[in-house]
């Protein structure tokens, strides 16, 4: 038994159990937390495959950004999912059927696989990914950035509402640009006369 094996089985077990936790826990916040655990242990499995860049990406993007927003929303909503869960039982046969089909496909694909495991190379995989991404896949990469831009615009267009009556809005540049003569007025008053 190698050390790597032990670590692999440990993380694989955690991944599986956490994935079960995602669908089985009663509290939806717990579900999201289990999902995050799944991400993390999957990232650990990536590290074991010496795909450290993918692991870091998984942690940074999915755990550090996507799942945080998930958690935000789920925590705020505080919805009752027990009704949904009850209905979900009705769809269990369909779900199982789809799962079985996908499993079957996976088996077939893996048995006929044309994919080759990349030969062990001296180039670290972060470098290798960078080289491929910015040469062979430059065009798809740039197009993907445009998609993200559109998603950004879309989110703003559909949600940002300009309120007509903003109470008070701080414009810091204006605040800084004020001079003393604009802001302060010196008035001479004799004692007892008041303002």
């Amino acid at each position: 038994m190698m050390v790597v094996d032990v670590i692999f089985y440990a993380f694989a077990a955690v991944t599986t159990l956490a994935a079960i936790g995602v669908v089985s826990s009663r509290n939806q916040v717990h579900s999201v937390l289990f999902l995050i655990l799944t991400f993390f242990s999957t990232a650990a499995l990536f590290v074991l495959l010496e795909a450290e860049f993918l692991a870091a990406l998984l942690v940074m993007v999915y755990m550090g950004a996507v799942a945080v927003l998930f958690l935000f929303v789920v925590m705020m909503l505080d919805m009752d999912v027990s009704d949904l869960k009850a209905q979900a039982i009705n769809h269990l046969p369909l779900g199982l059927a789809v799962g079985a089909v996908i499993l079957l496909e996976l088996v077939v694909v893996l048995s006929h696989s044309h994919a080759h495991v990349a030969a062990a190379s001296t180039v670290p995989n972060t470098l290798a990914i960078g080289r491929t991404l910015y040469t062979q896949y430059l065009y798809p990469f740039e197009l993907a950035s445009l998609i993200l831009l559109v998603a950004l615009i879309g989110a703003v267009v559909l949600t940002l509402r300009e309120r007509k009556k903003v109470m008070r809005r701080q414009v810091i540049s204006q605040q800084i640009a004020r001079t003393r003569s604009e802001a302060v007025e010196l008035v001479q008053r004799k004692p007892g006369e008041g303002a």
Binding site: M1, V29, L33, A56, M60, P124
Partner: protein
Amino acid sequence: MTELNQLIQNQGLALLGPQWWPLVWTLVWTLIKIILLITPVMILVSYYTLAERKVIGYMQVRYGPNRAGFWGILQPFADAIKLFCKETLIPQGAKRAVFFLAPALTLVPALLMWAVIPFSPELILADINVGILYVLAISSIGVYGVLMSGWSSNSRFAFLGSMRSAGQMISYEVSLGFTLIPVILLSGSLSLKDIVNAQQDMWNIIPLLPMFVIYFISGVAETNRSPFDLPEAEAELVAGYFTDYSAMSFGLFFLGEYANMILVCFLGSLMFLGGWLPPIGLLSFIPGIVWLAIKAGFLMFVFLWIRATFPRYRYDQLMRLGWKIFLPISLTWVFLTAVGLHLFGKV
């Protein structure tokens, strides 16, 4: 030393057999290394809390703690004993499992990041070739401790505090990440060791001064320190996300926060201030680790200095600073660095 090693190996092999011994030995040896790393860090953390109280005390023309031991030197231990002895309170309606997990999830990532920090060319626990990526990845986990504590406490103060804090942390993580990219571009490596070695001729702070300033301010915001300590704005939220924590579970948050602050300082020294490299070659007789300690120590002092000097930001001002000022500037600088490297033929 080699003899001792040989002795342990032989004894272990005899005791557990060739199948299990290597496994056990690897785990034990790793554990020893981890302990050797964590202990100094924890001591540093505890004395940093003392330093904070002393520095701020002197800045406010008072003494700070000076009763426990000479010059208050035993104060951290007194604090630790107090925290350990106190009763851990659990609020009514709290989600127990998450409630207890949250402080651990704040401290553990803070300590995990230390694994890849090189203290000198040789002194490094895990010399991985994507060190900076690892640090960024792990630092993005830290937000969960905050979110979980706020949610599980079943209290509005804590929940609001955790929402604020999480928003703040993920916002400043973006600009923090972008300030490090020019550094990576300049050194052409993700390994912290290579990044320091690439600063042999010129520290990164010289070409990347604006990035260093943004890095440091983002670091202050990322660790929820004053003047960005809105999550625990005591006037509004009592203590933010750890309002309902007491005793050692509170202590873990405390340790996590300070470990993060020190890490930001060490990382800043490594990325921008040349790490263990001396400022001029003449001074290279002083060991590298001393130089690193001096640089990081200075940054740590600045952290406290800032706290004693600036008033707290308002939340919209905080978000404005992060998204509308730091992000565009750091993105522009990434672009400029890339263009500069291209023009001066380094790539």
